[in-house]
Subunit: 193 residues, 2 copies
DNA sequence: CGGGTAACCTAACAAGCGTTAGTTTCAGCG
DNA sequence: CGCTGAAACTAACGCTTGTTAGGTTACCCG
């Protein structure tokens, strides 16, 4: 049985880091979950921080990879935004823990690594900003404040891990569609009888 | 000079807990900021967790107190929602640290206290849900999914502490108005030429 | 002036942390 | 069978954690 202990460690760490937070999770906690002694992990990992680093980076990869092709496509802005929200929520739903760690626990990396993650997070957010700005300039969107409009979208998708339950009544795509509709068309009844 | 050391401790803890997180902040960190020794704090506090408890509870008070009178008023739903968003952002802007701790660090309280906070958070969120549902039932809002619509509003206000800078170009009220407009009227240009 | 008290310091406690070194176990293979 | 290597264990390291006990300072009130 070619069990990959390293991956098991990452997987366990993902659960615990996202549940309790990085600092409240000890190396021995992770080991216990795998029926190991604390020190035994160091046959597979270099340090606790390295584990966090690997998890955060993989999550960043997932989010960026899911959204970049959509930005690069030539869909109209509103379709792009819908597709991006769908893609993002798909990634979140596939692993809530990854998303939580990517959003919150990355702060506990060392200076250098933290900056690297901050850059990728900014990169991700700027993709949303870019689509919103394109939509406003092309006239597809109302002449809103583009920064604030992008922030509204990002707020919606970034807050998702705090409440979304994959076993709940709405599928990831359904959640995405409802949010897209609300963001694009608004809540107030102004155009219909 | 009647300096209230207890309040100074709370204030320092607020900064540090919100910057580094509860577990990454040590009692000695707080003391150092006040030119004290670690143990000296215990003349004023009972435990580190008690400090967190006090901070979280005060923040919960602030948020609830700012929004409850609006819900109880007889404004139309859309005006209520605008006023609530204004009130919330006002509280956030008055102390970003409080908001961050209220949203994230409360999880590290002991079982009993954590449940008490969870209840108050639910109470707060249900106020928004209630206003949205009223608006939908009265016909002021489009017949959207009320849970999701409330979640969109809550996402926007809950994500605020992550990006809002009180020294930035937009005043709290301006931010609130822009968000209100976007949420109520939507981003897409559908009713205008 | 003198006694009390609140605030602080020093020093230490037990427990827990991330991490390392040395040793044991055991399957795979000549 | 005996060797090899990986993977686990035990045991400890140096340090930090939250917290406490006991002594010292300094100020208020009679």
């Amino acid at each position: 049985m070619a069990i990959d202990r390293k991956e098991q460690i990452y997987s366990t760490a993902r659960s615990l880091f996202s549940e309790r937070g990085y600092h409240a999770t000890t190396v021995r906690d992770i080991a216990r979950e795998l029926n190991l002694q604390g020190g035994s992990l160091y046959a597979h990992i270099l340090s606790k921080e390295d584990v966090l680093w690997e998890i955060v980076n993989r999550a960043a990869d997932q989010f960026l990879a899911s959204v970049e092709p959509i930005v690069a496509s030539n869909l109209p802005p509103s379709q792009k935004l819908r597709a991006m929200i769908r893609a993002h929520i798909g990634v979140v739903a596939a692993d809530l823990a990854d998303a939580t760690i990517f959003l919150h626990e990355w702060k506990f990396l060392g200076e250098e690594r933290r900056q690297s993650v901050a850059a990728r997070r900014n990169q991700y957010e700027s993709l949303y900003r870019q689509v919103v700005e394109d939509g406003i300039h092309s006239g597809d969107f109302a002449p809103a404040n583009p920064k604030m409009a992008a922030l509204l979208v990002l707020s919606a998708v970034n807050w998702l891990p705090q409440w979304y339950n994959p076993g709940g009544p709405l599928s990831p795509d359904e959640v995405a569609d409802v949010f897209s509709e609300l963001i694009l068309r608004g809540l107030e009844r102004i155009c219909t009888a």
